[in-house]
Symmetry: C2
Subunit: 319 residues, 2 copies
């Protein structure tokens, strides 16, 4: 599904009511240092990466909060992809969420240097549910707020509710997280988070335990080592897309989820086969993201490049 | 290719001269401790694992040395699979090579507790080249001896010469290793060894550098994270076969190589497609090995189990 790129059409689309995918998460201003360079004050946030990426597959709406300092330039970036921003609240009393982090030679894990939650501290997400909403992604944030979003959405109408989380919530709000897990169909988390949440070293055992908590579909991201998917009595394993130059891993997990959810929304059904394809698309989208700072590489992307890399990925992994 | 299992036929086959695959390596007595148990004095060694495993695909001959203490029982294990043992030298002046090691919670890397090289110290491999020899595997040992083997083999007649190595040789005999690399078609090594040998953190860059040293085919094993293959201008990536219970990783790398080389020998040609299949078979064979101590799981194996797991592996990785 190709999105139009002119401003006029973008405006029209935003007032229409046909976005089947909703993401609730963060929009941020990041400062990032990697072994290959650094960037101050660049566009980031889980919902920004997710929505930009999923928009290559399906119309998408974003629910998040920013402060009075949020640059018009970043809003324009999201509008390039025709993302419905009606749910992007501007809190004039505060500043946009800021994250400062770095990566060392092992690009697999970010080291947080500084965090200013700012407007996130008072965020009380109000979801504007449109008629066509079928897929919901709760990007990484407070599990109590994730539950609040679920309560606002008419659950029986949804085809899939998925959730991301992180170490911080597993450690500080485990009960809340376990509670929200009862209400979702899918969880996306990394290998370390799986071990922390379940106490299991082995990821297959960990995934089984998580499925007992609620979500029938468990997606475990292993960074440069690929991804595992568990669904019903089946599982699926993919390596990462091999890259010679990983420049900045920020947003890789969010764009993995964006590609995966975007593809599932596009095809409109959740089966073993569509899930396999979905994590392959997620892998591809993440592989583009890490090639440049911020959303820079995604902004150069087109359908042809996505499809070409998807076919190459199939060629180098299928036997 | 199914091997006969009766002793009479085994004896006949050993005097025949139709083993297209030769492995030169170690035969050992191991003592292994894992988080799940320990085993004293069990059968091990790179050439033992390799030959037992590859014999499921092709007739194979083994060149190695043991001491006067080598248990008849272990010889019988190799004869179960009809392996040609004419090249298994018995040095009556010494004891068989012994390795003692352990694995901690992270099963990815062995910790060596004790090594007695014993008869390996005087090993001077004499290769008995038969008419049908086409594939040669130099398991992990002194690169000067690996070169000695290559010099005894009529190179133009070989379809593929492959080599394994380890950190110890990269650190202590790098010049010898670089010299032998000029004479082989393929190298099999792990991710840490790749980084040590090339100074490159990125494995694609590392593989490119190794290809400049000589071998056109580079196989990088990443343990539980799968394998990368580089061949001409192509590359290929596979995850490991996901296992719920890894019991003892000893021999995983050797049986990976055994499955890979055994399959290549069986199909008789080295192309991008056969190499892909070969590393998938290698992955499968390693996944069996780690399920029990020593060669125990391999000894319970049959063609049906191999083929079933291969098909399952395809199902859970291809999209």
């Amino acid at each position: 599904m190709s999105n139009t790129e002119t401003k006029e059409e973008s405006q029209v689309s935003q007032t229409s009511n046909n976005q089947p995918l909703l993401v609730v998460g963060t929009v941020a201003v990041d400062s990032v240092k990697t072994p290959f360079g650094e960037r101050e004050q660049c566009f980031g946030g889980s919902a920004s990466y997710f929505s930009y990426c999923s928009s290559f597959f399906t119309p998408v709406q974003l629910c998040a909060v920013v402060g009075d300092d949020f640059p018009e330039e970043y809003r324009n970036v999201l509008q390039e992809r025709d993302i419905n921003l009606n749910g992007l609240e501007v809190n004039k009393e505060g500043k946009t969420f800021r994250w400062e982090g770095k990566y060392e030679a092992d690009l697999n894990s970010a080291i947080t240097l500084d965090t200013h939650l700012n407007v996130l501290l008072d965020f009380d997400p109000k979801v504007q549910v449109n008629d066509s909403l079928e897929y919901l992604f709760l990007a990484n944030f407070d599990p109590d707020l994730q539950l609040k979003v679920i309560e606002q959405v008419d659950k029986p109408k949804l085809k899939l509710t998925a959730l991301d989380t992180m170490n911080f919530w597993i450690e500080s709000k485990k009960e809340s997280l376990l509670n929200v897990l009862k209400h979702v169909d899918m969880i996306v988390l990394n290998d370390g988070e799986t071990r922390l949440l379940t106490g299991e070293t082995n990821l297959i055992k960990g995934a089984k335990k998580i499925r007992e908590f609620g979500p029938g579909i468990v997606v475990i991201k292993k960074g440069e080592h690929g991804v595992l998917l568990f669904f019903e009595d089946q599982y699926f394993a993919l390596p990462a897309f091999p890259l010679e130059d990983v420049f900045d891993p920020t947003g890789a997990g969010d764009t993995f989820a964006g590609g995966m959810m975007g593809y599932l929304t596009k095809v409109g059904e959740v089966t073993a086969d569509t899930l396999k394809q979905a994590i392959a698309y997620g892998t591809i989208m993440a592989s583009f993201t890490v090639e440049k700072f911020s959303l820079d590489r995604l902004r150069e992307l087109d359908q042809k490049q996505i499809q070409e890399r998807f076919e190459l990925f199939r060629k180098i992994t299928n036997f």
